[in-house]
């Protein structure tokens, strides 16, 4: 036991928050080990004592006593270290080749359930997922009270252990999909998962896919709805959102919360989002196509106005629009980086001062500013921040094609985009599916 303790100390002793504390209870000495930063030591000790006292006095057998404290395990250095890293308290008893793993009272390291910060909800349930995986699963269970909901938990990683939980509705989901996902996770359980890229790799997705394969949401309502539709939810410990598999095109436009409105209004809102996406994609491209390549499509009055507003702009439309688009992206990026209190400043500087000055300085045309404003606003109508990112990227493809081929380029870009979207599938389910009916198997 002594040597075992030495060995652990050698492994973890470099940490100042690691403690080895001898203690005794009822005359039996033991040593406690753990991290003070993860374990509320005082309260844990009290709890241990209470635990002991509540039992009859007559326990004399050591094994019996050990069983009262927690799990008894054989010596296994790797496992012990992992346990300690995972925030468990380890008890070592003299002369034993076994040790006890105690579930201590942890120091509270997760935030409470709060309202969502990345997604806004109008007239809907306001709680959101947080970093703690058990809390998240609990929230889902609370949201969708159904005996069919199943939870499967995996531990993955070689360097860092991560808990992943898989939730599905036994009654709605395709068993095939769950099998595939479980197989995939198990086959690559050595991968460390710290972010979504890691997770994508674990799930065997191409890391170059522009459309996210997961639909990420903070809203329990969405997650519960996904379960009902036969989708699968993945939770990764320390990632404060649900990852819904598979992500479908229609998720970009529909939110379960829409159903809190009357049906015609729901349809109107969803059509609005479709228009928003189309505007984001088409408006900048259309500007380039009409101004530079196919001005005959414009009415003469409009053509003259645009020509007038572009008078003195020293570069071609494509450069003009890319220049301004990048500045806009910078503004968006900057306002996500900044603390909330300084955010409005950027909006003002970017929007009012820059926008106005750039026109007065005749660096870009008036119309372009309008087009860009429409684009940026429309871009935000999409459901899910991840989706809005991919759309932001796609519009550049269209802009470039438009500068070469004009209106033809615009439509060609749309065709490429459609073909790309059509080619995406997740575990055999096409991105374009409306429901979770199994898509056909691919063939070359």
């Amino acid at each position: 036991m002594e040597s075992y303790m030495k060995e652990i100390e050698r492994r973890l002793g470099g940490n100042d928050d690691f403690f080895i504390l001898p203690d005794h209870m009822g005359g039996i000495p033991y040593v406690m080990m753990g991290f003070v930063t993860l374990i509320d030591l005082t309260r844990t000790k009290i709890a241990l004592r209470k635990n002991r006292e509540s039992l009859s006095e007559t326990i004399s057998d050591l094994t019996e006593l050990m069983a009262v404290f927690g799990d008894i395990r054989e010596f296994d250095l790797e496992e012990t270290v992992t346990m300690i890293m995972g925030g468990k308290l380890i008890l070592l008893f003299g002369g034993q080749r076994r040790y006890v793993v105690v579930d201590p009272i942890p120091i509270e390291l997760s935030r409470a359930v709060e309202s969502p910060t990345n997604e806004n909800v109008l007239q809907g349930s306001m709680s959101s997922f947080n970093e703690d995986i058990d809390t998240n699963i609990g929230i889902v269970r609370k949201q969708s009270i159904s005996k069919h909901v199943r939870v499967k938990t995996f531990l993955t990683g070689s360097e860092q252990l991560k808990k992943i939980s898989l939730l599905y509705d036994n009654c709605h989901v395709e068993p095939d999909l769950v099998d595939k996902i479980i197989k995939q996770i198990e086959s690559s359980s050595d991968n460390d998962i710290n972010n979504l890229q890691n997770l994508s790799k674990t799930m065997g997705f191409s890391s170059w896919s522009i459309i996210p394969k997961f639909y990420t949401t903070e809203l329990p309502q969405e997650a519960a709805n996904a379960l009902k539709k036969g989708k699968v939810i993945l939770f990764v410990d320390r990632l404060p959102f649900a990852l819904i598999l598979p992500n479908l095109l229609w998720d970009m436009f529909s939110l379960d919360n829409d159903r809190n409105f009357p049906l015609p209004i729901m349809y109107a809102i969803r059509i609005l989002r479709v228009i928003g996406v189309l505007t984001t994609l088409l408006a900048p491209g259309l500007y380039v196509a009409l101004v530079a390549v196919n001005p005959e499509v414009l009415r003469i009055e409009l053509a003259l106005t645009i020509a007038q507003s572009r008078e003195g702009v020293p570069y071609p439309a494509i450069v003009e629009i890319i220049f301004m688009l990048i500045i806009l992206e910078l503004i968006i990026e900057a306002s996500t980086r900044l603390p909330k209190s300084i955010g409005p400043t950027i909006t003002m500087v970017g929007g009012i001062i820059l926008g106005q000055a750039v026109v007065t300085a005749r660096l870009v045309s008036n119309l372009l500013i309008i087009v860009l404003a429409a684009t940026t606003i429309a871009n935000s109508t999409v459901v899910g921040f991840q989706n809005s990112l991919s759309i932001r990227l796609f519009k550049y493809l269209l802009v470039i094609l438009c500068s070469i081929y004009g209106v033809l380029g615009l439509l060609a870009g749309l065709v490429i985009l459609s073909a790309y979207l059509a080619s995406i599938n997740t575990f055999g389910i096409s991105y374009l599916n409306f429901n979770m009916k199994k898509g056909e198997t691919e063939n070359g």
């Binding site: 390549v293 001005p295 005959e296 003469i300 071609p316």
Partner: protein, 352 residues
């Protein structure tokens, strides 16, 4: 994925080396009106170019001459600082003399090339073109599209102006049974332009001219709305609020016979003396009929079927003979034109 990446690279290469049609709109000269005249087999082209400067539009008239229209335009383009783009030409103004000598070549060229849209309006200028543009320019300075607006249906168009587009002229050159009328204008004294009536074009040649009142009947005959036109008569003036027309063609003893019945709805505007509504009705009907008959005699003499009367015999005369419509049948055509006027209301007051 490898393939995808290589394709991406390829498209980037294309993007880097080619923007062939990419000319910014402010580097294009967008003429709105093109005047064409021909002297001794040399074309002279006038382009009216609105030039946006700061908050107003200047108008520039440039001219060039060459052995073909394109040649002339090319010369102008070479001399201008920007690229001349005929894509936005809205009105083609033909010199009257040129129109009389035949414009079918130019029209066919306009249809062939993509530059000039087939929708472009055609009109005839009854004046020396140079003079015309000089006079017009001084009058329409603040707005660049005045000449075009004159013909635009939701702007300055009136029912007594024939509205004819390039493709219609082209159709008349090839069609067996249909000719067109092209508006004739010259510069006005107080207004920018003055409408003089319409030139009758037969196979691309101007063969006769009808005045604006007759053009109104021509428009009505073709089912165009004549709404808003005021007819002045001896005893009253009326406002036409709607019109409809029906045609029926038959063959009588091998001669074509066309019965056309036009129904007009009018509102009384002014009266002189004390006419009854029946009198006014009669007066309109008689006046329009005589006017139409006069016009038709003129048209029949010119041999141009701008009313498209041959269309109503398409189901009667076989196609092989329809080819000779203009020579064999049209001169013999008897047209029975009937006017039926309805006085819709008399305004706020009664007719005494």
């Amino acid at each position: 994925m490898k393939v995808g990446k290589s394709m991406l690279a390829l498209s980037l290469v294309v993007a880097l080396c080619g923007c062939w049609d990419n000319t910014d709109i402010n580097h294009r000269v967008l003429p709105v009106v093109m005047g064409v005249s021909k002297k001794d087999s040399e074309y002279k082209i006038f382009l009216q170019i609105p030039e946006p400067i700061q908050n107003r539009t200047l108008i520039k008239i440039v001219t060039g001459s060459g052995s073909t229209i394109n040649h002339a335009v090319d010369k102008i383009s070479a001399n201008l600082e920007d690229h001349v783009d005929l894509l936005h030409v809205k009105l083609i103004l033909l010199d009257k003399k040129y129109a009389q000598s035949g414009v079918d070549d130019s029209i066919a060229d306009f249809m062939r090339g993509r530059d000039v849209s087939p929708k472009t309006l055609v009109s005839i200028c009854d004046e020396d073109m140079e003079q015309f543009f000089i006079k017009v320019k001084t009058k329409m300075e603040p707005k660049g599209t005045t000449l075009y607006d004159f013909f635009e249906k939701n702007a300055g168009w009136n029912p007594q102006i024939a509205l004819t587009r390039v493709w219609e002229v082209y159709r008349s050159i090839h069609s067996y049974t249909r000719d067109v009328a092209i508006p004739v204008i010259h510069s006005g004294t107080s207004t920018v332009v003055q409408h003089e009536g319409s030139g009758v074009i037969k196979n691309g040649k101007m063969v006769a001219q009808i005045d604006s009142d007759e053009t109104l009947l021509f428009n009505a005959f073709n089912g165009e709305s004549t709404q808003g036109k005021i007819e002045v008569m001896d005893h009253a003036s009326v406002l036409i609020t709607s019109n409809s027309i029906r045609h029926k063609g038959t063959m009588l003893d091998g001669k074509p016979y066309l019965k056309s019945k036009i129904k007009l709805k009018v509102v009384i505007q002014e009266t002189k003396g004390h006419p009854t509504s029946d009198e006014i009705k009669k007066e309109i009907e008689v006046m329009l009929k005589t006017r139409f008959d006069q016009m038709f005699v003129k048209l029949q003499a010119s041999g141009a079927d701008i009313l498209g009367t041959g269309q109503y015999f398409r189901n009667i005369i076989p196609r092989t003979q329809l080819k000779d419509w203009r020579t064999k049948y049209y001169p013999k055509l008897k047209l029975d034109f009937q006017v039926q006027a309805t006085i819709e209301n008399t305004g706020f007051t009664n007719l005494q």
